[in-house]
């Protein structure tokens, strides 16, 4: 027999001056293989059409449905109710602007940091239609894709103590994104350029090594390892004149990006 699940859901409509933040309770019969995607849609369609939340691919690929599930940020679509207790508490992700109930504005936030860290390949080359593609080692392509797998769901940001305390912290996701460009030979930026972008407390030095980003990442991206690579590179860049180059080159991830 299925359980009866109790959902405690955060409700607040910031566009409505009469709305006050509060928790609302719904109950639902559990069905086999039920995910929070199925459950929330059932609640909206059958019990409360005013409930707001975001889903898109419902397959854990697009990153739309990040929310705080029983205290931990995660993707609702790939959370099975079978893995949760009878009582399920849902909050919107903190840090991001609340749009309504469980729906937050991750889009604006990610566009902002994307611009800030200049999340694109910097090259002076021009594309030549007639030339064959530049060669790349397959292993390197795989490594780049490993870091490119981030779906920008915002869970790591919501789980980050620094991000909770400091509005301007760019979060593990952004530093991971930059790490992706750091190892990409097509990006012609040097260590000093990266240093300019993230060499302060809103960037890589804001990270206090709390590891929650790593622990909640639905894609299991080794975020802290990337933070480590970038922090080492930027720190060594900051003491360029103090530490001899041969030591620096040993310690950084991509020595050919040192200048």
């Amino acid at each position: 027999m299925g359980r009866t699940l109790t959902f405690e859901i955060f409700r607040y409509n910031p566009s409505d001056p009469d709305s006050k933040p509060h928790m609302q309770t719904y109950t639902l019969e559990e069905t086999p293989s039920m995910t929070l995607f199925i459950a929330l849609n059932k609640i909206r369609e059958e019990q409360d059409p005013t409930l707001q939340f975001d889903f898109c691919c419902r397959a854990g690929i697009c990153g739309s449905c990040g929310m705080v599930i029983n205290g931990r940020p995660g993707l609702a679509c790939h959370t099975q109710t079978a893995d949760l207790p009878d009582k399920i508490t849902l909050h919107p992700l903190p840090v991001f602007k609340l749009l309504g109930d469980l729906s937050v504005d991750t889009g604006t936030w990610f566009r902002g940091v994307g611009k800030k860290i200049e999340s694109w390949i910097h090259t002076k080359k021009q594309f030549d239609e007639n030339a064959p593609e530049e060669r790349m080692d397959n292993e390197l392509a795989n490594q780049i894709f490993e870091l490119d797998r981030c779906v920008e769901c915002g869970c790591c940001v919501a789980a980050c103590g620094t991000a909770r305390m400091r509005d301007d912290f760019i979060g593990a996701t952004s530093i991971n994104r930059l790490a992706r460009f750091y190892i990409d030979p097509r990006d012609e930026r040097k260590s000093s350029d990266y240093y300019e972008l993230i060499g302060d407390d809103s960037g890589v030095f804001g990270c206090m090594g709390l590891l929650a980003c790593d622990n909640v990442c639905p894609k299991q991206i080794p975020l802290q390892d990337q933070l480590g690579v970038m922090r080492r590179m930027v720190t060594l860049e900051s003491v360029k004149a103090i530490i001899p180059d041969f030591i620096r080159n040993k310690l950084v991830g991509c020595p050919d990006k040192n200048d």
Binding site: S15, P49, N138, L140
Partner: protein, 624 residues
């Protein structure tokens, strides 16, 4: 009301929309993209497998050429495609892939030396050439003569989308997310932009543009079981059809994917079968070679889907509370292969099904997957009937897919068509001056406002009830196997639902700010009209071609049906008006046997010599 001005407005910010936007922005034009979700969440990101392009770097793709790619595409389309467009596509695809590599896509590359691959569950050896080391690699996909599908692990759509969106950031293209386009602004001749509803605030906003692009993807959500994201509700096709002028092409051509998982309908990639996954029945017997001795699991999608349905109807399906299904077996590929090359598949199985594909079978069944039809455009991507309106990607019927598209061709289409159409949009802008008519905008605005007011006054069913009934009708009557009787039932049922949408009510009474119910309610009548367009087009098409399989007309009929359905919806009508046009302006590959799928063909008259051209001949379309 807020009014935004730009040179190019893209409705949709998936791969096709962004590729066009990038092209126009590179030419110096001001571009705005509208998107229901932040652009990186577009459904393009969910495409796992890859993009077909005849680069011929891998040993199994050795000797490949655009012409062979073209031939595969035409055969795949069951001769329903526009061969001129298919040629443009096949020729441009390799350039488009290299360009994406230049922009930053981490394509998988050729590793020289011997490697093992699986075909039909058996291991084979192949040796990659040393001189091709580091060039873009390719994998096998169904319905192709060569290994041609460029890929990045199994997150190709994601990787390409992120790369394009990075380029958008670099070029400073504005993206207005959480905007839902509700109506095109036009005067019957010229498109001038859209009226969109801001999903954050619920306010209507006007976008005035010289060129408007529809790139909203498919309409899978017309079906209950679909691999498509929840945003794939046909929004672009709806606003085009609502003009009463712009025709939708071949809407009855709807593809089902053989391997949607049960019960969540999440797609597992064709790469599973390409890499050697097999399909098993209730007795864990591999049945596909019995039906398709040559290609087995790698026949084109329509064929595999139908064979699966056929086999389940014979009673070999696996019973489950969610209906019958079959098994996909990838266990023999090994842990390393499954957790790297097929990791998304692994994740989906673990997180959504509670199945470990390294040791267990994956429950699958054919599930709605792709819409070949869409806003009918010419080879430049310019919509029929309205100047200044373009469409690209799945939303469009550019028509390189005809009645069935090959795996890897749709994702490739997004960037190839995006590139081609983008250049044509730029050409259009160069020879054009801004047309803006205030009353056209007012009319469009008033229309949307009226719909919102009506919803607030409605007393009938709510939008979810009506949508669900429509989805069930589509599954039941307009699915994989079709027949006249059921299609007629479907049309009747959908007409009844359409009538009921006129008195649709808001169960939540409408609220300020974000209101998901209102967004859905505004969509439902258009969705039902699209559903009717599909059902009615399918009813009229008395043949079987590609994905359109009629039990009562099992033959492909080249004599009467070598043509494309064009459907317009005149205001106030309860059915679309169907007209037909030639499938292709000329033939490079005259109609013949696909080499898989079986089935009889009713031959048409011989193709006149002036309509036959060779692949290399750069002949302009006859009479086009």
């Amino acid at each position: 009301m807020q009014i935004h001005y730009c040179d190019v407005l893209s409705v949709g910010a998936g791969l096709a929309g962004e590729r066009v936007a990038v092209e126009a922005a590179q030419a110096g034009y001001k571009v705005i993209c509208l998107s229901i979700v932040p652009p990186r969440r577009s459904h393009s990101s969910a495409a796992q497998g890859g993009m077909q392009a005849a680069l011929g770097n891998s040993i199994m793709g050795d000797g490949d050429s655009p012409e062979i790619h073209f031939n595969d595409t035409v055969k795949g389309s069951d001769w329903g495609c526009d061969q001129e467009v298919a040629r443009i596509f096949a020729e441009q695809a390799p350039i488009a892939m290299r360009e994406m590599a230049f922009m930053g896509v981490p394509w998988n590359r050729v590793v020289p030396g011997e490697h093992t691959y699986y075909k039909g569950g058996k291991p084979f050896q192949a040796t990659e050439k040393k001189e091709n080391e580091g060039l873009i690699h390719s994998r096998a996909f169904g319905g192709t003569a060569k290994w041609r599908t460029c890929y990045t692990s199994d997150g190709t759509g994601h990787a390409v989308l992120f790369t394009l969106d990075n380029r958008m950031l670099e070029l400073g293209v504005q993206v207005h997310d959480r905007m839902q386009a509700e109506a095109l602004i036009h005067d019957g001749e010229r498109c001038m932009g859209v009226i969109a509803r801001n999903l954050r605030t619920g306010e209507l906003e006007a976008y005035i543009a010289n060129a408007t692009l529809i790139a909203t993807g498919g309409f899978g959500r017309l079906y209950r079981a679909t691999t498509n994201a929840v945003i794939c509700d046909g929004g672009g096709q709806i606003i085009a059809q609502d003009t009463g002028i712009v025709p939708l092409g071949n809407m009855e051509a709807v593809q089902f994917h053989p391997t949607g998982t049960v019960p969540t309908d999440i797609l597992v990639t064709e790469g599973c079968r390409g890499d050697g996954g097999t399909l098993l029945d209730v007795n864990e017997y591999r049945f596909m070679p019995d039906y398709e001795p040559e290609k087995a699991e790698l026949a084109s999608r329509d064929v595999v889907s139908r064979r699966m349905t056929e086999h389940m109807r014979k009673g070999f399906g696996v019973k489950s509370p969610y209906g019958d299904h079959l098994w996909l077996d990838i266990r023999h590929l090994g842990e390393k292969h499954i957790t790297t090359n097929l990791r998304e598949v692994y994740d989906i199985c673990r997180h959504f099904l509670g199945v470990n594909p390294i040791h267990q079978l994956i429950p699958v069944r054919p599930t709605q997957h792709y819409s070949m039809g869409g806003v009918r455009v010419n080879k430049d991507g310019h919509a029929y009937g309205l100047k200044g309106l373009f469409a690209a990607g799945e939303a469009a019927c550019w028509d390189m897919h005809g009645f069935n598209r090959l795996g890897g061709n749709s994702l490739a289409e997004t960037v190839v068509a995006g590139r081609v159409v983008g250049k044509k949009v730029v050409e259009f802008l160069q020879g054009d001056s801004m047309v803006y008519k205030a009353d056209a905008m007012r009319d469009a605005l008033r229309g949307v406002e009226q719909r919102i007011e009506n919803l607030k006054k409605g007393t009938g069913d709510d939008c979810y009830t009506l949508r669900n009934e429509m989805q069930d009708a589509m599954m039941e009557y307009v699915g994989i196997f079709r027949n006249g009787k059921d299609l007629q039932k479907g049309v009747d049922k959908l007409q009844e639902i359409l009538e009921r949408t006129k008195n649709m009510r808001l169960a939540g009474k409408g609220q300020r700010g974000q209101d998901a119910e209102m967004a859905m309610a505004l969509r439902v009548p258009g969705m039902v009209r699209l559903a009717l367009t599909i059902a009615y087009g399918a009813l009229q098409r008395t043949e079987s071609r590609g994905a359109h399989a009629r039990e009562d007309f099992p033959e492909r009929n080249d004599r009467d049906w070598l043509k494309r359905t064009l459907a317009t919806w005149k205001p106030g009508d309860s059915l679309p008006t169907l007209t037909y046009e030639e499938a292709t302006p000329f033939f490079i590959l005259p109609p013949g046997d696909r080499g898989y799928g079986g089935g009889k063909i009713i031959d048409g008259p011989d193709i006149p010599a002036e309509k036959l051209v060779s692949f290399a001949e750069k002949k302009e379309a006859q009479g086009a």
